[in-house]
């Protein structure tokens, strides 16, 4: 017996003993000869994996241990398997590593999360065909020309004859789409998850256990539970809000679970179904942990993905050295403006983490070094006056450093003590900016939420990181022109 197998067995024995203790303490008294015919079912649920490659080997080990106790365990994800790790997100077949890992550990089902669309329609379409498990979403209409493999629901029959109905609903925002860039769902339409859920209650009559595998967020799952007939659903397994549900959350007789995110935890849900179809359920949140035993073959796969040549691939050639934060910042801010197609873009000085970029090949990993925070881009419509308000509010918070602009230039007028008197705004060719005009402006989400200044538009997230936008921009640009000595910000004392 291999060492890891022995550990699996020991882990399984500990888990089994614990479950025996729990079941002994809660079992009902029955007369001899009147033992009820009970059937059992176990589901292990995770959500918002977000390409957490590093945690997968430990998760796989825990999963094997549980399967040693519960050989027919169903394994489900409540969506957002994608996005969050460069090795996965920059893989030539974007998002494929996490799908391959989910295949190897034999996931049964996944909800469609908003981040499933990050690989664009063709990419997601491809991933659904490569996945050896089904994706579910019941409040989505798929365009006829898209051959994506998504079902509204699925009824799974277990080895002991139980029928489990799974149906899934995805959160839609105020714009009527999931939280993703509109281009990623072009042609798709999305229905109200709350109304649609009522239409699928018929599944209750076709199964022994009825489960909603949602990507709505915990509070939305509670709202949904309160709108459904009491006890009409046995469990809502949720995702999206990255909520750590440690204890029973029962609302309107419906249990709601969620297991944080990034494979830090998993929820084990145990069902007991009587011959009268009475369903009892209990949940426990299992920690996967930062340390511990891991499955060696999965570890090898993760190492292979981390050595992904795409990360060390040349994406563009710099025709000159970049030798200070300003020059690197101007390149980054140009990238997010060009990719977003806006009039103007800003990056805060703290958002630029390297002060040089050597002439020659620029690699994908160089961009993650410049912009390591995973900040997303936010779109605003701002007047010249509002932009000036932003500059004035930001200066002190940014340690008396100016914002890097693209599509315009600025002149900071300083008092003798270094404090800011005013900021003047100019077009790229040096003419005074029309302060009454409204401009489309992008900035990162740090800037969007950190500065206190008067503006009417609350902003719209574009659900794309500034690093990814920079990578796409540089790939298209191929040759990066010289930024040497570029002057977009003038400081006048």
């Amino acid at each position: 017996m291999k060492f890891s197998t022995k550990l699996n067995v020991i882990y399984a024995i500990v888990l089994f003993s614990t479950s025996l203790l729990i079941s002994c303490s809660t079992s009902q008294k029955v007369k001899v000869g009147e033992l009820p015919k009970l059937k059992t079912l176990e589901i292990l649920a995770v959500n918002d994996i977000h390409a957490a490659l590093e945690n997968f080997p430990r998760f796989a080990f825990m999963l094997d241990s549980l399967r040693a106790i519960y050989p027919n365990l169903l394994l489900v994800s409540a969506g957002d398997n994608q996005t969050g790790h460069p090795a996965n997100d920059q893989y030539p077949e974007k998002g494929m590593p996490i799908i391959e890992l989910m295949n190897v550990v034999k996931f049964d089902l996944s909800a469609v999360g908003n981040h499933e669309f990050d690989s664009r329609i063709a990419g997601f379409e491809n991933l659904t065909h490569k996945a050896q498990f089904d994706f579910l979403c019941a409040n989505m209409e798929i365009p006829k020309n898209v051959n994506i493999r998504i079902k509204p629901y699925k009824i799974v029959e277990t080895h002991n004859g139980l029928k489990i109905a799974f149906v899934s609903f995805l959160d839609i925002n105020e714009n009527g789409i999931p939280d993703t860039h509109p281009d990623n769902v072009k042609g798709f339409s999305f229905n109200d998850p709350f109304k649609t859920a009522q239409e699928y209650l018929f599944l209750k009559d076709s199964c022994d256990v009825f489960v909603m595998l949602n990507h709505l967020g915990f509070e939305e799952d509670v709202k949904l539970a309160m709108q459904l007939p009491a006890k009409s659903v046995d469990v809502i397994i949720g995702g999206h809000s990255h909520t750590k549900v440690e204890k029973d959350q029962i609302h309107n007789g419906i249990m709601i679970t969620q297991a944080d995110r990034k494979l830090k935890y998993a929820t084990l849900i145990k069902f007991t179904v009587s011959s009268e179809k009475k369903v009892d359920r209990e949940m426990s949140l299992l920690a996967i942990g930062k340390k511990g035993n891991s499955r060696a073959d999965i570890q090898e796969m993760v190492e292979k993905y981390n050595n992904n040549p795409a990360l060390t691939k040349t994406i563009a050639i710099a025709e000159d050295d970049f030798s200070n934060y300003e020059e690197v910042g101007f390149l980054m801010v140009d990238a997010i403006r060009m990719v977003s197609g806006t009039d103007i873009a800003f990056i805060n000085p703290g958002g630029v983490r390297v002060s040089s970029l050597a002439k020659g090949p620029v690699l994908t990993k160089n961009v993650y070094e410049m912009d390591p925070f995973g900040n997303e881009i936010v779109l605003f419509n701002l007047s010249g006056h509002e932009m000036r308000n932003l500059f004035l509010a930001a200066f002190e918070l940014d340690d008396f450093l100016p914002i890097y602009p693209s599509g315009m230039t600025t002149r900071y007028l300083l008092n003798s003590d270094g404090s800011l008197k005013n900021v003047e705004l100019f077009t790229s060719d040096g003419k005074p900016l029309d302060m009454d005009k409204t401009y489309s402006v992008v900035m990162n989400d740090y800037m969007a939420s950190s500065y206190k200044y008067e503006h009417k538009d609350p902003g719209q997230g574009l659900f794309r990181t500034s690093a990814e936008a920079t990578i796409d921009y540089l790939k298209n640009l191929k040759n990066i022109p010289s930024y040497r000595g570029m002057l977009r910000v003038e400081m006048v004392r």
Binding site: N114, D171, N173, E174, N175, D179, L216, G217, F218, E219, E220, V222, H240, S241, H242, T243, K244, V245, E246, Q249, Q258, D260, R261, E376, V378, F380, L397, D445, Y446, A448, S449, S450, Y451, K452, P458, G459, Q460, G461, L462, F463
Partner: protein, 65 residues
């Protein structure tokens, strides 16, 4: 969208995450976000991660901020 932090209404960009809302909340109070981030819960006492995604009208509570 509107999000509630300790029952105070915060206006924030659509698509904002928990950390964005916290930054905006402290900014509204003329404070900076603490370096040691506080524990955040929802209205039901569950803890929420800082990269958690939000829906319009979500409620967040700062436990030790």
């Amino acid at each position: 969208m509107q999000i509630f932090v300790n029952d105070k209404e915060i206006s924030i960009h659509n698509g904002a995450k928990v950390l964005d809302v916290l930054r905006a909340y402290y900014t509204q109070l003329d404070k900076t976000l603490p370096k040691k981030l506080p524990i955040i819960t929802d209205a039901y006492g569950n803890s929420i991660a800082f990269d958690g995604e939000l829906s319009k009208g979500s409620h967040l509570y700062i436990l030790n901020g």
